[in-house]
């Protein structure tokens, strides 16, 4: 099997200060960056901390910056990086807690703020069965429901870095997912939430979030949809009075 000597340079936030550690080991074909980190933890330096869970790109734990770009460590093959020197650092635009672990509390709080649940004026009873939703209606929002909340888009977005209150791509995409859902009736509650100074108007369609998104959610597209929805909603309100 193909083997290669690789060097991992890990930028760690260890005991409240930044440092860089170099680890050299043999990588084999098929090894992901996450496998590499586990190899380091198991064989070289057990004190190295990072988040990881499903190792199949669906839990969103292992987002980190690999050679300057935000990626999921579990879904990135070492041999595909095109270099034997791999620089790893925690996600930028978030506070580092230890080593590669960064603070996600604020990220999830923003997600909570957009009311990411189905809002109904009247709930159907269980006995009446499911709401009817055709495959076409499902397709309208399915893409946005694939977000795994890995936080890569918050690293890529320049506004989440400069404005700590900006809801950010993932939360806005989540709002869009519910607004586009044919079963949802929460427009009146949700659109005002996402259309103020901290909402979709902070997005200038840089579209870096969509480029780093590992699940092809295309949050940038979702935010532009939100802007149009908000415009129509506002015009309606202006003329109603």
């Amino acid at each position: 099997m193909e083997e290669r000597e690789v060097t991992f340079i890990v930028k760690r936030f260890y005991r409240n200060e930044w440092r860089e550690d170099r680890y050299e080991f043999k990588a084999v074909r098929g090894m992901t960056v996450l496998d590499g980190l586990f190899h380091i933890r198991d064989n070289i330096d057990p004190s190295l901390s990072f988040r990881a869970s499903c190792r199949m790109g669906i839990c969103g734990s292992c987002g980190m910056v690999i050679n300057g770009k935000a990626m999921l460590a579990c879904s990135t093959q070492i041999f595909d990086l095109g270099t034997d020197v791999v620089r790893i650092e925690p996600l930028r635009n978030m506070e580092a807690l230890k080593d590669l672990i960064s603070d996600f509390d604020d990220f999830f709080e923003k997600h909570r703020r957009v009311k990411p649940y189905l809002i109904r004026k009247e709930e159907k009873s269980i006995e009446e069965g499911e709401y009817i939703q055709t495959p076409d209606e499902l397709r309208k929002y399915r893409q946005y429901s694939l977000c795994i909340k890995c936080g890569l888009c918050y690293d890529a977005c320049s506004i989440t870095g400069s404005n700590k209150e900006y809801l950010g791509p993932a939360a806005l995409a989540s709002a869009c997912r519910f607004i586009m859902d044919s079963r949802d009736q929460g427009e009146d509650e949700r659109i005002p939430l996402v259309s103020d100074h901290t909402g979709c108007w902070r997005c200038h369609f840089m579209a870096e979030c969509s480029e780093v998104c590992p699940k092809e959610v295309d949050p940038a597209d979702a935010i532009q949809k939100l802007k149009r929805k908000a415009l129509i909603y506002s015009l309606k309100r202006l003329f109603r009075r």
């Binding site: 404005n163 103020d196 100074h197 108007w201 506002s234 202006l238």
Partner: protein, 117 residues
Amino acid sequence: MEEMHTKKVLEPVWWFFQIITGILLLVLVSLHLYVTHFASEKALDYSSVIGRLSSPGFKVLYAVLLLAVVYHGINGMRAIFLDLTMSDVTKRIVNILSLIVALLLFGYGVYLLANIG
């Protein structure tokens, strides 16, 4: 409360104007550059400038260009400032200052238009 509400209603409108003025500027600035630099070698002579600015057609055209460019520029700068983390008070200061600067610029432009030619 009422003010918050109006802001939320207007913010999308500001965004839409930004796009409209942008497209408008694309046309008007091209026209402006064509007229002042490419149409004739004498386009920037004092007499031809005064001549252009004396015609009511150009006056209206330049007034629209002025409005669009001031809006687009100042609203763009406002967005750049609002992209920073700031308190609600600072946000309001940014909004008010933007409005004042925009009015001053526009007012001065109108003053020039009225006094030339």
